[in-house]
Symmetry: C2
Subunit: 185 residues, 2 copies
């Protein structure tokens, strides 16, 4: 999991995985028929971890549903800082690295996005009439993912978290405008 995140799927060799885990070739291949099966397992682990490993820590002590959205983005900001601005979303990176993924891999990538977006969408629904009734909450939740992925990509390319911050700040301005619109009605 960590090697695929740090180096990417293609650039991680089986030899490196064996050395890192102190496992022998025979044992690994006993459980995982091929390298791609390792990727499938990793993507399943990410999917299962969205709640307990990502959202719950990010949302500890945060009750307001709209603040939850920005608390999650703040968590990514922390990851960017912790990695000296080299952070890449493991799902997004693999989604762009693999140009002709197996259908099973593609589906797991999509399921990861869907799980993430669904959690945000729930927040936006909890926000009720603080957002305009006309707002497509799913589309807005997808925009939040878009902002995270696009912000992470630019922060990493420039090695500067300010690129992430500016996109998030624009998203905040958009939310403020939506709240104002909902209020006016």
């Amino acid at each position: 999991m960590e090697l695929f995140w740090l180096k990417g799927y293609g650039s991680t060799s089986i030899a490196e995985i064996l050395s890192r885990t102190q496992i022998n070739s025979g044992s690994l291949y006993h459980f995982f028929p091929g390298k791609q099966d390792l990727l499938l397992a990793v993507l399943e682990a990410y999917r299962e971890g969205i709640g307990p490993m990502l959202l719950e820590p990010a949302w500890a002590g945060v009750g307001d549903p709209i603040e939850k959205v920005f608390a999650l983005l703040a968590r990514y900001r922390g990851l960017i800082l912790e990695t000296d601005c080299t952070y890449g979303c493991p799902i997004g990176s693999i989604a762009l690295e693999l140009h002709e993924p197996d259908e099973a891999v593609r589906r797991l990538l999509a399921e990861n996005f869907t799980g993430w977006v669904a959690a945000i969408e729930t927040c936006l629904q909890e926000a009720g009439d603080r957002l305009p009734a006309s707002t497509d909450r799913r589309a807005l939740a997808e925009l939040v993912l878009t902002v995270m992925e696009g912000g992470v990509m630019q922060a990493r390319t420039y090695r500067d978290v300010a690129y992430f911050d500016r996109s998030v700040e624009q998203l905040r301005t958009y939310f403020d405008a939506l709240e104002k619109l909902a209020c006016a009605k």
Copy 2:
């Protein structure tokens, strides 16, 4: 250029480049000392092509500066459709594929983003007081790039252009809100 776009940098072999171009190994290495030098040349070509190959075609017949922003996004929508929703931005894909790029590569990736964003920023400045004076035009231009990259990533992962469309539609709503704000003042 095309092979790196279609297959990624790591998954494109020199042998494939030789076969595709009908060039022999000796000739290629005479001009390009190593594979990475090919990547540098490709990234320079993309940078030089932003205007003539991307913006000018996308903006043909479009005068309104804000419509130019969405015309460019519409161009990407066309690319997504032309590739059966497998389109990946060549710059963004390589930015996420390479986890420890050479400084020269990283800088060229950043320069590509900067050129793209600068063109959008110019549009936003041309929009003048149709946007609030308080709007950070650079940050907003970066958000446009963010939306393109995030939208392309999701459309590709889901193999469905609707994911791109929804993020762009949200961006449009944001622009509408900004224009309304500017008008009210």
